[in-house]
Amino acid sequence: MSSSLYFTDEHEMFRQTVRRFVEQEINPHVDEWEEAGTWPAHELFAKMGPLGFLGLTYPEEYGGQGLDFWYTAVFCEELARINCGGVPMGITVHTDMCTPALAHFGSHELKQQFLEPSIRGDMVGCIGVTEPDAGSDVAAIRTRAVADGDDWVITGRKLYITNGTQADWVCLLARTSDEGSYRGMSLIMVPTKTPGFSVSRKLRKLGNWSSDTAELVLDEVRVPRANTIGQEGMGFMLQMQQFQRERLVGALLSCAQMERIVRDTIAYTRERQTFGQPLINNQVIHFRLCELLTEIELLRQLNYHCVRMMVAGQDVTREASMAKLKAGRLVREVVDSCLQYYGGMGYMEETPISRAFRDSRLLSIGAGADEIMLGIIAKIEGILPGKQKSR
């Protein structure tokens, strides 16, 4: 069945299931969700959970499928068929951005309380790192958790939080000691119905309209200290690790989206006639599209290499940062070139390319901006001045 070098028959069968799910359960509603500025995460997860979509690589003990990361790659490639960027982002935040640390380092009780229902599709999660005064510089966060007996009492603000208006819990990065900089932070599981927790506002954005993005306020929110993921004080490190998966998933998703965008553009420029011939017959256009396909193919190979490294249990920090950096930059080229070939039609809000143009801009900013990726790569390469001295 599978002609691919990378995927087995089971991967391909799973691909068909996700593809059909996207076609039948998601795409018919995307326009409505884009308009509404949100998507029904609970309703959709209740259908995705039983199909096994929400815990592909997580342990079977907590309802996961215990599968290899290639399944996640397939999942991303098929979510890329969703006709917008917001919904796949909302889904992957839940499956691969706010859950990895919990799944790998959370206590058995925490996993029972949060991971299991999230895999089942009964709970929606989100990740709370960014704050009004700390984005790229994660070490500058101010949200503080103060120990009070067996509890944390947490106060602070989190900004631009995906799934923020509908999440049942936040995987929250907070300061848990007075040590400065990246020391003394912890990842804490915070149920959003805890008193003192509120969603201060839903934010309006350039793109990814269907994804709800929120500002969260924590005012003396009390949760058990046992809600800490892993060791207290290890939060920064755990989050940096969790980011690797977030970045790789971002690159996988975006790579498949780019390919779809180029293929749609090929189809359009074949039909569209100017000066008595199809647009695509202009060498400047078909050469450009082939150049983009070449770049996309290179990115795919880097992505697949990262997946292989993940499966082999290797550290992907360098490669996943490169993939995310490349994806963020390439997608901007892809949507810009493709939109150009749609002409005025591409500028119309209702066309898919116009939406892709708006949605794609995020990738160079979210999950660590391009410059942050470059900083990480520079650090690993040993060519980042200053930083080594201060730390």
């Binding site: 069945m1 002609s3 028959d9 089971e10 069968m13 799973f14 068909q16 299931t17 059909r20 799910f21 039983p50 199909l51 096994g52 979509f53 592909l56 499928q65 599968l67 399944y71």
Partner: protein, 258 residues
Amino acid sequence: MKIVMCVKETPSTTAEKRFGADMRLERRKEDAIINPFDEYSIEEGLRQQEKHGGETIVLSMGPATATDTIRKALAMGADRGVLVSDPALAGSDAVATARVLAAALQKIGFDLVLFGSAAADAYGGIVPSAVAEFLGLPLLSFATKLDEDGTTAKIERQAEVGYNTVETQTPALVSVMKSINEPRYPSMKGIMQSKKKTIDTMSLADLGIESGTVGAGASGEKALSAEKITTQRKGEIYMGNDGAAERVVAFLVEQKVL
């Protein structure tokens, strides 16, 4: 209760159709899917099993590689598969196919056999009735609802207006319409479990069928030619002040719109 769902591997409905010199459809492995109509009979079999227990078996006649298609049905939840495959079967028409399926069904044993209403490649829609004829059993066709209690099967049969209620003793055969249910997606768990399920392969010899009675040679149905349907949209434009409105009205009357 033993429920057998008959499933055909067909080319994807969106795949480009190509015909060989013998006017038979070229079947490419990469385009192969479960006949979309059969997803409803598979789903119905699984639902009956959920209600009454028993065993669900997927039966297909096709090339050796059709095990992939059977596997998809197993991923939806069926218990095991049977593939009838034999080089001598190539080119079998609907009646020859029915002869083979009937023999396989007899060998497997069943209380209920489910079919889709047609196959998306040829749209013949006669295999279910031909199988019933070979088996000498009743066929409840075009079911939009099925109730089965172990001794009788009762369906609502789609009629031109409304539906008829039809009932028979089991064992019986039922063909289902798309409106009967909403087929499930194979879950990840189902996909992983399908790997461990058995698919038995039967040859013509296993079924005691003479190869001369099936296959292209024994098939009365011959495809002579195939042509692409081209629909031409021709618009007519009436312009000017001299009677354009009257001509539009005349046209609409002629088309029985007005």
